[in-house]
């Protein structure tokens, strides 16, 4: 991932400000538009179109979980908390909802650009980490499947030593990866209690 903060791409980005009506909201909207974003407000419900927004800025004073159509901390876009009360419970909620940056109220123009860049950077980092964790999990679980498949094959042929080689031969014959071949063997043995016609 690039370490340099990328400014381009904010033009035309869609921001939804989830905040109750307030005089100072206009200052925030003006600043978002000055930076080049399309900004709209919503309260108390997010519109269905929020799912494709590029940024969500949300009030942590009156906000609650039910306002978001995704699981807490699983937003598909960067989230910026608009923090008034610094009561620990509210900060905890901001953090749990997955705030990637925060702006302290009263709402103002200053800090908006910085928080957009910070939020996007930290969201991208979070996404990249989650993707990497997912890929590693898949690989770990594939390894377990291979071990299972090898021991199934060993039972059949009576040789632990050649079972791994057998699995490789099968994968080649079936034109798939060893991981996928292992999945096939384990599945087959689970449904029929037998190996897929190899002997």
């Amino acid at each position: 991932m690039s370490t340099q903060i990328d400014i381009a791409g904010l033009e035309g980005a869609r921001a939804i400000v989830l905040h109750p009506a307030h005089d100072r909201l206009q200052i925030l909207l003006r600043q978002l538009r000055a930076i080049g974003l399309e900004a709209e407000t919503a309260w108390p419900k997010l519109p269905a179109s929020a799912i494709t927004a590029d940024f969500i800025l949300y009030d942590t004073d009156a906000g609650h979980d039910a306002q978001f159509p995704w699981a807490s901390g699983q937003s598909p876009m960067p989230m910026i908390a608009l923090v008034g009360s610094e009561a620990p419970g509210r900060i905890e909620w901001a953090s749990k909802t997955g705030a990637d940056a925060l702006l302290v109220k009263p709402l103002a123009a200053s800090g908006v650009f910085a928080s957009l860049l910070m939020a996007r950077q930290s969201f991208e980092r979070r996404k990249a980490l989650l993707a990497e964790i997912g890929a590693l999990r898949d690989r770990v679980s594939a390894r377990q499947t291979i071990v299972q498949a090898v021991s199934l094959l060993a039972k059949k042929t009576g040789s632990e030593e050649t079972a791994y080689d057998d699995l490789r031969q099968l994968a080649m014959a079936w034109k798939m990866t060893m991981e996928d071949a292992a999945v096939q063997i384990v599945k087959h043995s689970e449904t029929t209690g037998a190996n897929r016609g190899i002997c």
Binding site: Q4, A8, L10, E11, Q31, G36, A109
Partner: protein, 359 residues
């Protein structure tokens, strides 16, 4: 019947960037004169003049004093970005507006400021694009040690590095510092293709003179091979530079065809002049209440982008030849993009950047 408005004028008449503020002051005051002499305009101005004398800490109290001791809701003033940032809280308190008439580094859109001179995509970007096409992809960055120097150099660095160019050195001098010897030595060693000079005032003059001498010692540093580039050099500073100005390259919204010996008619002077005229027109048009609300509705008729309160401007690259700026490349009517988020507003080039050829 003419209505008289108090108008703050906040320029430093002494100090290291005096030549710039003098040009701005002249522009503002002659515009006030011309508005007051124009009986077709139902508006006249009563200037409330304060002189911060180049001291950063004077700006906020003097701005506050203008706003509290008179009915002024508008101030023309400030040269450095630091001084502009100093007065914004005072303007906020009084819901007043600053007309800022100097090129600056962007990344700001205060509702209390009209940014009339060039911002990021109207100065640094076109200058960089032009220089890399004519001289090459390696630069040495020099600046005064405050926001203007840091940000112009940062934008150059990130843009150039993103295009596989290189920054061979980056040095900052305190405002007013004129000891440039070690800087010149470092440049002599690093041999860049061009140099960005974001120094201001006395530091800049000392550096430009020393660099001109270097160019005479070593033809590599002659202006046709390795020029000095600036985003803030105007006619106002040519008299003090004399022959050392030959070959300097600058970017700006306007340059004079026939310069005068005292540096009149720079884009600074013209911008300050135009800002006061624009304000007079807006007041004649009935602007009242918060000026940002007025601009949000009517800004476009004055060429002011309502979203950013920056102006659409022509952009010229020019070089000093025989004591006058000669325009080398122009774009007209470039809309402002102070945050560099709108690539569609960036000046376009028809030819690609020069690539470094490795031996």
């Amino acid at each position: 019947m003419s209505k008289t408005f108090d108008l703050g004028v906040l320029y430093s008449r002494s100090g290291t960037y005096q030549l710039l503020s003098e040009a701005l002051f002249t522009g503002a005051m002659s515009a006030i004169e011309s508005v007051n002499a124009n009986h077709d305009l139902p508006v006249s101005f009563n200037p409330i003049v304060r002189d911060p004398a180049g001291e950063l800490t004077n700006y906020a109290p003097m701005c506050a004093e203008i706003l509290s001791s008179s009915n002024a809701k508008h101030v023309v003033g400030c040269v450095t970005s630091s001084s502009r940032k100093e007065v914004i809280p005072e303007l906020d308190r009084a819901q007043a507006t600053l007309w800022y008439n100097v090129p600056y580094e962007g990344f700001e859109t205060s509702a209390r400021v009209v940014y009339s001179h060039a911002a990021t995509n109207q100065n640094i970007l076109p200058l960089l694009g032009w220089a890399t096409r004519h001289f090459g992809m390696s630069v040495y960055l020099v600046g005064s040690n405050y926001i203007w120097g840091w940000e112009t150099c940062r934008v150059m660095r990130t843009r150039l590095e993103a295009a596989d160019g290189s920054v061979l050195g980056e040095r900052y001098l305190p405002l007013g510092d004129t000891s440039v010897e070690s800087l010149i030595e470092d440049i002599e060693k690093s041999r860049p293709k061009f140099i960005l000079n974001s120094l201001v005032g006395a530091s800049s003059y000392a550096f430009i003179k020393a660099y001109a001498e270097l160019g005479q010692r070593d033809p590599y540093f002659a202006s046709d091979n390795c020029p000095l580039l600036s985003c803030n050099l105007t006619e106002a500073e040519l008299p003090v530079l004399g022959n050392a100005a030959e070959g300097l390259i600058s970017v700006g919204p306007s340059f004079r065809k026939n310069p005068t010996s005292n540096g009149e008619g720079s884009s600074l002077e013209r911008t300050a002049f135009q800002s006061v005229l624009t304000l007079a027109e807006a007041l004649a048009h009935g602007a009242s209440g918060p000026f940002d609300s007025y601009l949000a509705q009517h800004g476009a008729r004055y060429g002011i982008d309502p979203a950013t309160q920056h102006k659409s401007l022509d952009v010229h690259i020019a070089q000093v030849r025989n004591s006058a700026f000669k325009i080398l490349h122009s774009w007209s009517d470039i809309a402002p993009d102070p945050y560099l988020t709108r690539p569609s507003r960036h000046p376009k080039f028809s030819d690609p950047m020069l690539k470094v050829v490795q031996a």
